[in-house]
């Protein structure tokens, strides 16, 4: 456990200013500190996954980014504009789905989108019907567009919220828990939408507590815990920094270990193969050595820390008590009863 630690991982120096940046952001609600000293940076063109347990300040941070909430202290910059004063400049270019979808229950999905579209500064009146139809098509709601929002399922509501964020081509799209209530197919579609946005050069900020989702779609990660950013940076760099191991699957473990030791490469036997320490060598060298030694290699893969491990480590403070309680419980239950 070294390399990445609490604090920030420097992102590569960007030529363009970040899509969003906060400095020393703090929000206190009636004596409760929701967010404290958040220094977040969303690089332009990135897909940044904002991770954190419930109540870690993800939504509050997003609300301050959008100028919905005035920070108690600190600064927010959105597309280079200071928020909330620069809202009129920055927000037309920003699409947002915050705190779940919010629509009128007595209007149909299409009528609700028409209403949102009427408020969009970048949408000419003549283009509204087309933009609404396109957005509905994009989230797969065309067939249900005429039905009242009241009768929508949770997943359909979520899709409509996504559609309202996609009404206009944006520079920056902020999605707060976009896959809430979606079935696996819906989750895949959201991933596809995010990938499309990324391909089109749109910066995306997606908050989630689903680690697999973030790992699959994001280029960057920011982890929040108890109102502060505990780690942020490129996803690959964050994951890489935690481990430098190569897992080799081979039936001839002993020969493999000996061959590697002859080349002063430390390796250890594990079930089904061996784990090779890569601190002093590279993966191709390891494979070359093994093949030259005549060891049959079935599979070689880099051992990743996995976002789950990283997340658990960064946010474990809050879970220590729960884990301890579980351990206590485990010792109380007799072996044969488990």
């Amino acid at each position: 456990m070294s390399g990445v630690s609490e604090g920030t991982v420097a992102a590569p120096a960007a030529a363009v200013p970040p899509a969003a940046r906060t400095r020393g952001l703090r929000k206190v609600y009636r004596g409760t500190v929701a967010v404290d000293s958040v220094d977040l940076e969303v690089p332009t063109g990135a897909v940044l996954g904002m991770l954190g347990p419930n109540g870690s300040g993800k939504t509050t941070t997003i609300r301050m980014l959008l100028g919905l909430v005035t920070p108690t202290a600190g600064e927010v910059e959105l597309l280079g504009q200071k928020m909330p004063d620069g809202a009129a400049l920055a927000l037309p270019e920003v699409g947002a789905l915050v705190e779940g979808p919010g629509f009128h229950p007595f209007l149909s999905g299409r009528e609700n989108l028409m209403r949102v579209a009427a408020a969009e500064p970048l949408l000419a009146s003549a283009r509204i019907p087309g933009a609404v139809a396109d957005a509905l098509e994009r989230v797969g709601l065309t067939r249900a567009a005429g039905r009242r929002y009241r009768g929508y399922s949770l997943g359909m509501k979520q899709r409509l919220g996504l559609a309202s964020a996609l009404l206009v081509p944006r520079r920056f799209v902020i999605l707060d828990e976009p896959t809430n209530g979606l079935d696996p197919a819906g989750t895949r579609e959201v991933r596809a939408v995010i990938a499309d946005l990324h391909a089109a050069g749109t910066t995306v900020l997606v908050s989630s507590h689903l680690l697999a989702e973030v790992e699959a779609t994001c280029t960057h990660v920011a982890v929040l815990n108890q109102g502060t950013v505990v780690a942020q940076g490129e996803l690959a760099a964050l994951l890489e920094a935690g481990s430098a191991n190569l897992l080799v699957t081979t039936p001839e473990v002993t020969r493999a270990v000996e061959a590697l030791r002859d080349h002063r490469i430390p390796a250890r036997a594990v079930p089904d193969g061996l784990r090779v320490d890569l601190t002093a060598t590279t993966a191709p060298q390891v494979v070359e050595t093994l093949v030259h030694a005549g060891v049959p290699v079935h599979e070689v893969r880099r051992q990743r820390t996995g976002l789950e491990d990283l997340f658990a480590r960064l946010t474990e403070d809050t879970n220590v008590i729960e884990d301890a309680a579980l351990d206590d419980l485990a010792t109380l239950i007799p072996e044969d009863a488990r």
Partner: protein
């Protein structure tokens, strides 16, 4: 402002105000409770007209008493005036409070307000659009009552002209003019209450609180105005000019009390919208 190297400079653009207003009105007029409310209000003069027609038929031999109800009989144009004046006591304030409650508190509760705020619709513009919506639908309600009242009055009670409470008879067109004047006076009073309700609406996310506070204000004002020891309060009570709206059927028109009523309402409108604006500019959405 910092130098930017983003692809293209940002421009502050805003959605056209008429488009926002149309959208607001369309939404309000699709809301089931608005439509039901308007429908019921439109029925008020019809029901009153039927009641009066039956009552005057049954008692046609008896001498007429005093008051607006007896004057209505045979004077169809007085029916819309009567219906509007009576409704101003409770039904129309309730309607105004309900519209204002849905406008901000209701939209906050549904999470639809932040769609507008992040579009973005500037906060002051948002209040202007909301005020426009509430004012227009309130006007629609009183106009609707005037129309159904006039039709019902002419059909049920007959209408050659308008008998004023001063005993004179106005020709038909002058009578219609008095009905329209009633619409204006009643509407402005409803706007005054709606302005206060909108201020409350900007403060809370519970529409029920808006309705309760607004009707509470009406009831408390009414109670205070009948306590003789508190007569000195009357000039500032919102309900003070509501009683004098029936002055429109006097001849000649008492311009003094009418102007006073309009000014009092204007004060409430200014205060209400100032409070609403100061709140909406600073609130967390």
């Amino acid at each position: 402002m910092t130098a930017m190297t983003v692809p293209a400079p940002l421009t502050a653009r805003r959605a056209p105000l008429p488009r926002l207003m149309r959208s607001e009105l369309r939404m309000m007029l699709r809301r089931p409770r608005t439509l039901i409310g308007l429908g019921l209000l439109a029925l008020v003069p019809v029901v009153a007209g039927i009641g009066i027609a039956i009552a005057t038929d049954a008692n046609s031999d008896e001498p007429m008493g005093q008051g607006l109800e007896t004057l209505v009989a045979g004077n169809g144009l007085l029916l819309p005036v009567f219906a509007l004046v009576v409704s101003l006591n409770m039904l129309l304030p309730l309607t105004g409070a309900m519209l204002a409650a849905d406008a901000l508190a209701g939209e906050t509760a549904h999470g639809t307000l932040r769609n507008l705020l992040t579009a973005p619709v500037g906060r002051a513009r948002l209040l202007a659009v909301k005020a426009f919506g509430v004012a227009t639908v309130s006007l629609l309600a009183t106009l609707l009552m005037a129309v159904t009242g006039t039709i019902a009055g002419i059909l049920l009670l007959g209408g050659e002209g308008m008998l004023t409470s001063s005993g004179t008879q106005l020709p038909f067109l002058d009578g219609v003019g008095r009905v329209l004047l009633t619409v204006v006076l009643v509407t402005v009073q409803v706007w005054a209450l709606a302005a206060v309700a909108l201020a409350v609406s900007a403060w809370t996310e519970h529409p029920l609180i808006v309705v309760v506070v607004s009707l509470g204000l009406v009831i408390v004002s009414g109670v205070l105005s009948v306590i003789p020891a508190l007569d000195w309060l009357d000039p500032v009570l919102i309900t003070t000019s509501w009683q004098s709206v029936s002055d429109v059927v006097r001849d000649p028109l008492p311009t003094g009390s009418i102007t006073e009523g309009l000014l009092r309402a204007a004060c409430y409108i200014v205060i209400g919208y100032s409070l609403a604006l100061s709140r909406i500019l600073t609130r967390d959405g």
